[in-house]
């Protein structure tokens, strides 16, 4: 897959209309994991528009995103920055060719205090 195809795949998986973005930064303004991210939520959208796929694939931020959807919830233009982040993560996971977590891995790490939502999110985050 070349750079252009990778970009198109990310866009397809994200299912979001990135051109609607008006670069207001509200997604990054709300993101609870902002400080942990090397590329910020608004930049995910910006880089995808500009075709800077390699920057997206190299990012560490995809593992820091909490999938809390606050950015999607707050976007005034109906863009889903989290959708882009998740699409990049999926693409990277697929390129690595393995699932990051399997159903059997879960029972030993379950803690009563971990919210169910987090497990669901982790399952989505780390799998092909």
């Amino acid at each position: 897959m070349d750079k252009r195809e990778t970009g198109e795949q990310i866009l397809r998986i994200s299912g979001t209309e990135i051109r609607k973005c008006m670069k207001c930064g509200k997604c990054s303004g709300r993101c609870p994991a902002y400080r942990e991210m090397d590329i910020k939520p608004h930049q995910f959208v910006g880089y995808l528009i500009k075709g800077k796929t390699e920057k997206l694939l190299e990012s560490e931020a995809i593992w820091h995103c909490l999938s809390c959807m606050a950015c999607v919830e707050r976007c005034p233009r109906g863009v889903a920055p989290q959708g882009v982040i998740e699409a990049v993560r999926t693409t990277v996971t697929r390129m690595q060719g393995k699932n990051g977590i399997s159903a059997e891995d879960i029972p030993p790490i379950v803690d009563e205090l971990i919210p169910q939502q987090l497990l669901v999110s982790a399952y989505r985050k780390y799998n092909k």
Partner: protein, 663 residues
């Protein structure tokens, strides 16, 4: 001695809650001259006014003081009430006990004391008030519109529709103005000429409208209702009544190297020409700086071929003098000169163009017949970069400090039209802010981004240079926090606009005030936005401030409404509170005339008796009461105290000060 009545309003609880109105009414009875006092819940109500009227009759009052809200609110109401029972309306004074006392204080005792002082002050003024009578001046029922662009056209059509004759004075050979040069108009993208030219034809056909094209205002005398205007009709060397607009002269003219102003000098025209196909009047004009016959005496080809015999090389400028009741200024704008911005390389690169030049390059009647070709080599540009705010919001001295308002929208329009017509073209826009307030405006701009894929980059361009025929545009992308260089084929500068410079002369002739950017001042920025501070002068279009076509048309129609409101009157009531010179004290120094913003003061030589049967001639000030606005600038300027203001005399102001200072 005046017999004064004092009426104190509670204004519901607005005044009464903070000021002890009943005690005030008692205390004020002790003031010399006060023969009656009363307080009432709402003095402005029908009953309150009746109370005043009854008191005037019962107590034979010669002056009235109302302690109430601001005089801006109800002075007219109370003056009317007084007039209805035979009291001169200028014998009524209002002490502002609401805005200037009860609303701004909390302590009841202190507020009541202050209210007492305010009433005493008004009483002190009433004691010296004298009955004043408003004068009358007749109204000439004809309007002048200066400038034949869309603003002037709309104002003229609306005034003519109401049945008043209007003259449009246009300095160019045709009306139409800047709008005629535009290709499409935002936000609907309809063709500019298609919506403008029917209005131009309406002007030509309307019996009430007289178009004086290729003409300029030379001199203005008079005042509201009675302007006398001298208009220069420049020699066009073609008889307007004979020319049929057949254009044979243009085909035959051998002098073809003149720059075509209508196409922003992007191509050439002949020395005899009609600016564009839909010109009104559709009459040729000869450019005397280019015509061989006029320059060298040898040629005369157009005269030979003109079937109508309209060519007259001996034509001279002529003058007409007409009278008008009202004047609309609609002188419009031009793009600024961008040569000073050498970072954009406009003067060095043919392919760096202004937005108005792009309009002509996109227009079917333009130099390229509507095919977008770049000027240097007539090839189709594949990468086009727009730079917004060129010369706008710039205090460096090269540009203008204000936002030109229309550039964001026309740049979005250009970008969209190019992407629509040439989908293989890449379009970038550098911007500082995208400002799109207006109905359907932001949606329009978002369409350029979302539907047409125009690349908007937040940041300014710092440098443009030519590298092997490519224009390298270097700018900041502030969102990505990086510097970008875009190799482009065409660079378009969203150029700031400025008032047409001829407006300065017009403003001087009309004594209409103008700001540091050459925009004409409105009388009040919010509440009197189409009136100049000079009575009888109205403002339409960009001469008053940057605006787009919908706003210009709205303002022009508003102007027309104001003009019609003036012209339907047979006489104008003049404000009697005007300056009045004491001729015996005037030393003829002209200082009052210099400070008068309305041109109301002139000087005359007058003979005075100096005793012993002798006379001497002295130069003394005279005030035209129809023009004077009663601002008082002259009274404080006069070094010999010769100038005074009726209704606000120096003696009255001083007695007010005394009343305030009295223990």
């Amino acid at each position: 001695m005046q017999r004064i009545g004092v009426f104190i309003c509670w204004c519901g609880s607005n005044i009464a809650a903070t000021v002890d109105v009943e005690r005030l009414a008692q205390l004020i009875k002790a003031e010399p001259g006060v023969v009656f006092s009363a307080d009432y819940q709402y003095m402005c109500s029908e009953n309150g006014q009746q109370l005043i009227k009854n008191a005037v009759k019962d107590y034979n009052l010669t002056g009235i003081v109302i302690g109430s809200c601001s005089p801006r609110m109800h002075e007219a109401t109370f003056r009317k009430a007084a007039e209805s029972v035979g009291l001169n309306p200028y014998m009524v004074e209002v002490a502002n006990l609401r805005e200037q006392c009860s609303w701004i204080h909390k302590d009841r005792e202190e507020a009541t004391k202050k209210a007492l002082v305010l009433l005493r002050t008004a009483i002190a003024k009433v004691r010296l008030d004298a009955p004043l009578t408003a004068g009358e001046s007749p109204v000439v029922k004809r309007a002048l519109v200066i400038g034949g662009g869309i603003a002037g056209i709309q104002a003229a059509l609306d005034i003519a529709e109401a049945g008043f004759p209007v003259d449009i004075v246009e300095k160019n050979p045709t009306i139409g103005g800047r709008m005629a040069q535009l290709d499409k108009t935002f936000p609907t993208l309809d063709c500019s000429a298609c919506i403008l030219t029917p209005k131009m034809v309406d002007c030509a056909q309307n019996e009430n409208i007289d178009i004086l094209s290729y003409s300029e205002v030379e001199d203005v005398k008079g005042f509201v209702g009675n302007f006398k205007v001298r208009i220069r009709r420049k020699a066009r060397y073609v008889d307007e009544t004979k020319c049929t607009g057949c254009k044979v002269c243009m085909e035959k003219c051998p002098s073809k190297k003149g720059l075509n102003e209508f196409n922003m000098n992007l191509n050439n025209r002949t020395a005899i020409y009609i600016p564009f196909a839909q010109a009104i009047p559709n009459v040729a004009v000869i450019d005397p700086t280019q015509c061989l016959k006029l320059k060298t005496g040898k040629c005369g080809v157009c005269q030979k071929f003109c079937g109508a015999g309209a060519i007259d090389y001996t034509m001279q400028d002529t003058f007409v003098e007409r009278e008008y009741g009202a004047i609309v200024v609609a002188t419009g704008f031009r793009p600024i000169n961008v040569d000073a911005f050498n970072e954009y390389g406009y003067s060095d690169n043919k392919d760096v163009i202004t937005s108005l030049e792009l309009e002509r390059l996109m227009n079917a009647a333009g130099p390229t017949n509507g095919v977008l070709l770049r000027p240097s080599d007539n090839t189709h540009p594949k990468v086009i970069t727009f730079i917004q705010c060129v010369g706008s919001r710039d205090v460096s001295g090269c540009g203008k400090p204000y936002c030109s308002k229309i550039c964001c929208m026309y740049t979005a329009k250009h970008a969209m039209l190019i992407r629509e017509k040439y989908p293989d073209t890449e379009v970038h826009v550098f911007y500082i802010d995208v400002r799109t307030p207006g109905k359907n405006y932001d949606e329009f701009y978002r369409r350029a981004v979302e539907q047409y894929g125009v690349d908007y980059i937040k940041g300014m361009v710092g440098k443009v240079w030519n590298e092997n025929g490519k224009l390298m545009v270097q700018g900041a992308d502030l969102i990505e926090n990086e510097q970008v260089v875009i190799p482009s084929d065409l660079v378009v500068l969203a150029t700031a606009i400025e008032p047409e410079p001829s407006v300065r002369k017009i403003a001087t002739l009309l004594t209409a005030s103008i700001d540091t950017n050459n925009f004409l001042n409105e009388s009040h920025p919010k509440l009197r936005p189409v009136e100049s501070p000079t009575a009888g002068v109205y403002l339409a279009g960009v001469c008053q401030g940057p605006k787009d076509i919908p706003e210009t048309v709205s303002q022009a129609s508003a102007c027309a409404a104001k003009v019609i409101g003036l012209l339907v009157k047979n006489h104008l009531k003049t404000n009697p509170c005007v300056a009045r010179p004491d001729e015996t004290a005037c030393n003829g120094c002209s200082q009052c005339a210099n400070v008068c913003a309305y041109g109301a003061i002139t000087y005359v030589d007058k003979e005075f008796r100096i005793g012993g049967g002798k006379t001497e001639t002295r130069r003394v000030a005279q005030v035209n009461p129809a023009v004077c606005q009663g601002c008082g600038a002259c009274t404080v300027t006069c070094p010999s105290g010769a100038m005074d203001l009726s209704g606000f005399s120096t003696a009255q102001i001083l007695s007010e000060v005394e009343a305030i200072c009295r223990k």
